[in-house]
Symmetry: C2
């Protein structure tokens, strides 16, 4: 492996020399800053041999370094061995950031190269500033892997589907009207976007080009009369062609956007969100606008804001989708606890359990795939928040003791689900029960919140953290994220987290938003607990004091009563738990056979 990589790096250096590039940076990203990247984009993996999901390679004529975060220090050290590539442990004391490194190394006149399509506008501009400061320059129009990676997989390319109003609740014309209004508010006549879930939402399309995200690789330019959709020929079906004709959508080749921005007839200012386009698209848009004596205005994407508030058709689909999905998870919990405790049965591993759950989901109506790779983590493995069981590498056998954490979700025509339950497979310790109950209290306190219109996730987060903080515990992640409708499982806004990032104002929670509620306890080398319920923001009461909002659960899966220690429940959270369990019965019983109902009734007995 490492000799192959040494050889590849040498070829890269030859290509750099030919192009006059002194430092070449290879990040991990597609042209849309997607959460998952297809094989075609795994250039960093091709050159470095490091297979983790996050990392950036920087190569000069005599050095090569890979930056990655704490999740991957051990794995990266192993995979880089013998490659001549040094490991830069991000956020460790004394380790420079890439920009600091380049600032120190780049001399006057030196050239930093990267594929500007794979770098966000924001990051690209920061690198531009770093290069300028070092009196160097950038070259961002080359993908040097092109001539070296011979058997490189092609771009993902799958036919696109058009969603009907029974799924979307709002047709494309109405959505375009709202977008155009927003652009006008900012004094702009056209709008550019490369963020795939925003494009899909706006045009009521879905694809399957990104793992677990039902989106199609595309870029989009919308003006007052037309939509220009840049998409691969192979994605275009007869249905899409007819739909496009009907709604004045011009279908143009996927990689033509940058050229098109040069010839496009700008009739006013162009609007973009720098978080939604790549550095290359940004450069082309800025140049195109400037040539037409127009401005490129930067504003937060209006599509994110519109998309996150689900309409009543979407909500009604989502509610029934979540009931089905919850019932499947209940079936899984029944199965896995029985199976693990059946001494006559074959042993089950983490990945085996995950496959069975995935199978149960695949039987549900409107199932389209998983919304992310199922996390099935047993014992100490559950302390790693993003653990993935892989047969042959790490795939623990489930035993009739301790806890199994299962975080999973599906893509359906009727919604995107995400749910975590932690399950006792047999005897558990008092400490496990205490930590599970604390997590339940955290989860329920947020679920039970009543709050004034205008509140953000930063205002509410402490309702979930307070029971943890009181015990000197914390979980090193947000409490909740937004979720798409048959789209990305991680969507923002909204979010529930206490830290506010400077510069980016938190959005207020509003009816129709859906958000996860997933506190946890993670004890390295011992165990991990997470309870995740998806909540809908709903109207609560409007009176002289204001408009009060609240949450209503969408997920209906019982808490594990073997893991509840009532001593750690407050009277209020005990009531919330009993109310939740009563609702779980009500929502799920109609979807269950008598054996399942028996289980359900036992699990949801009041405390």
């Amino acid at each position: 492996m490492s000799i192959t990589n040494r050889d590849r790096i040498e070829k890269l250096r030859a290509a750099m020399r030919a192009a006059g590039i002194d430092y070449y940076m290879i990040p991990t990203g597609d042209f849309h800053n997607s959460e998952y990247v297809a094989e075609h984009f795994r250039t960093r993996e091709f050159f470095s041999g490091f297979t983790g999901s996050a990392g950036t390679l920087v190569v000069s004529m005599d050095e090569a370094y890979l930056w990655t975060d704490g999740r991957y220090f051990i794995q990266a050290a192993g995979e880089l061995e013998g490659s001549g590539i040094g490991l830069m442990k991000m956020s460790e004391p004394g380790v420079p950031t890439i920009r600091e490194f380049l600032g120190q190394k780049m001399g006057e006149g030196s050239v930093l190269g990267f594929d500007g399509r794979c770098v966000s506008c924001k990051e690209g501009r920061a690198l531009e500033a770093a290069a300028r400061k070092a009196k160097g320059s950038l070259r961002t129009d080359l993908d040097l892997a092109d001539g070296i990676w011979e058997d490189r997989p092609g771009l993902p390319c799958h036919p696109v589907i058009v969603l009907g109003d029974e799924y979307t609740g709002e047709d494309i014309e109405s959505k375009l009207g709202r977008l155009r209004e927003k652009a006008e508010e900012y004094g702009c006549v056209s709008y550019i976007d490369s963020k795939l879930d925003c494009i899909m939402w706006l045009l009521n399309l879905r694809g399957e080009d990104v793992e677990c995200n039902p989106v199609a690789l595309s870029h989009m330019l919308v003006d007052q009369s037309n939509v220009y959709l840049f998409i691969q020929e192979g994605e275009i079906t007869g249905e899409l062609r007819a739909y496009a004709a009907l709604h004045r959508i011009s279908l143009l080749p996927y990689d033509d956007l940058e050229d098109f921005l040069g010839i496009y007839d700008h009739r006013g200012d162009l609007m973009c969100d720098p978080a939604s386009i790549s550095y290359s698209v940004y450069l082309a848009a800025k140049k195109g606008a400037a040539n037409a004596a127009c401005r490129l205005k930067e504003e937060e994407s209006p599509l994110e804001e519109l998309k996150c508030v689900k309409n009543e058709v979407e909500m009604s689909n989502i509610r029934s989708c979540y009931r089905q999905d919850s019932a499947a998870l209940c079936r899984f919990i029944m199965w896995v606890t029985e199976r693990v405790n059946d001494t006559s049965a074959e042993p089950v591993t983490e990945s085996g359990a995950a496959h069975y759950l995935d199978h149960l989901r695949s039987l549900l109506p409107d199932f389209m795939g998983l919304s992310f790779a199922t996390i099935s983590a047993y014992g100490p493995n559950a302390a790693m928040m993003h653990y993935e069981a892989v047969p042959g590498i790490s795939d623990a056998e489930l035993k009739p003791e301790g806890m199994l954490l299962v975080d999973s979700g599906g893509q359906y025509m009727t919604g995107t689900t995400d749910v975590t339950r932690t399950i006792a497979l047999g005897p558990v310790t008092d400490e496990m029960r205490k930590h599970y109950t604390l997590t339940a209290v955290s989860n329920l306190q947020l679920q039970g919140a009543v709050f004034l219109d205008g509140c953000t996730g930063a205002n509410l987060d402490i309702l979930a953290r307070e029971p943890m903080w009181r015990e000197g515990l914390d979980y090193k992640c947000g409490t909740g994220h937004g979720i798409g409708y048959f789209l990305n499982v991680h969507e923002s806004p909204p979010s529930i987290r206490w830290r506010v990032f400077p510069g980016r104002q938190d959005k207020a929670l509003a009816p129709g938003m859906i958000v996860s509620d997933e506190p946890g306890v993670y004890l390295e080398g011992r165990y991990g607990i997470r309870i995740e319920t998806i909540l809908e923001v709903v109207e609560h009461e409007t009176n002289e004091w204001g408009r009060f909002l609240a949450f209503e659960p969408l997920t209906w899966v019982p808490f594990d009563r073997k893991l509840i220690d009532v001593r750690y429940l407050t009277p209020q959270t005990r009531e919330l738990l009993n109310d939740y369990h009563a609702r779980v019965r009500e929502e799920l019983a109609p979807l269950m056979d008598s054996r399942e109902q028996e289980w359900l009734f036992a699990q949801t007995e009041p405390f």
Copy 2:
């Protein structure tokens, strides 16, 4: 009254005509944006006859309007009657803001005048933009009251005192060193400030020029080697002159700052906080810097940030100061409940009770005055958050029933106090007890918070609001504010409020900050409840999950047990209340005589 005012307005118009001014605006403010303004600055009151604490008068050749907020609609309507001045009810539908009004009225070439010293830099710039948009201009160097208000009181002018290290805990040289470091961080060599509490804090001085605020009218310019203090001759004592000589403080006339900025030898960029200087000072500073080819850099005041974290000497003084102050309030509560229930005694009014409390405070060591006018509000009057009893106008007689709300505080060499308790004077209703107990729960939940370093008041506010919101109630103000050390009773940062104002990042709570915790229930025409305890931010625990902080009370006054309905206490808040009462006993008993102790022990029995 109104004829007098008509006459005064006509004189003002004559002065406007002579100066070529079409619109003249008179706000309510001194040269330092102080919370309270001295007689000398009551120009708006002089011309309009309106005596409220907030309002702005705008006069043109044929119109005159007064803008004020909801607290004063009734009072202003009465006081303006017959004056020819129209009332603009701020925030009412259809009522323009002053800027909107000027935008509509000002024609091309028209001139808006105001005394730029009485308008904040921010407001001045907004008016400048409004005038520019209307193609008009500004004239801000005239105080037109000067030739009209014949018996105008002079500027307040009292001798300044120098505080020793036993009070401040940090000498001037150390503070100046920290300020200079901060300025350097921003690349500046000098710093300008007109905010009185910041100047007093930095130089370890105190004055008595603003009601309830122990500050001296002054401006300040600090550079790497000198301090220029602009202050009236009459404030300068021998002590101050010697102190100034010792610490290279140049004492210059109070009104010389603007001229000085023109001749000052700028040796680099000048730093200011636009929130801390007037529009006039801003204009002079900008011009002075530009003439010297330097920049005027705008940054948040480093002094606010330094001042709000109290050092160990200050904290130790504050703790003992609050114990004394709490004991005085206990004496008052004993006295007022006994007195009101004594049928043989003379009746007591709200203001009579306030005077007695003020008297009790004045007996305490290091007493220097009140930190604000005592609020003593009985029955429905307490529903007005900022009620002030005034004999002859509104001064209810206290009866042996219902509730009395008392919000009060003192200035001491050892600290500034602020405390509110609501007291049952006799029989109370179940609803009053419910609302009092909810307020107690709110207060205790915030007091009992444990939170990670980095949290802001916006993260914590919901701990206090949650019990209110759950009942469909709210209080229309923040939950808490910062407090100075023998300085202003309202200081920021920190603050506890859920709404975050765009643009101004909330500061994280840190050990040494002190903050009020004052939730309440206010039912118009019925009653008002507020419980205010001052809290100190303290270290709690540092472990692998982070550095946890918590609060420790500074105020030690029992809650009124006749108003507690235990059914509304949660087990956690009952424990917090009992713990608090146990601490109250411990802290106060040594300061009390046996009769007082008897009362104290009865009030602090565990629930």
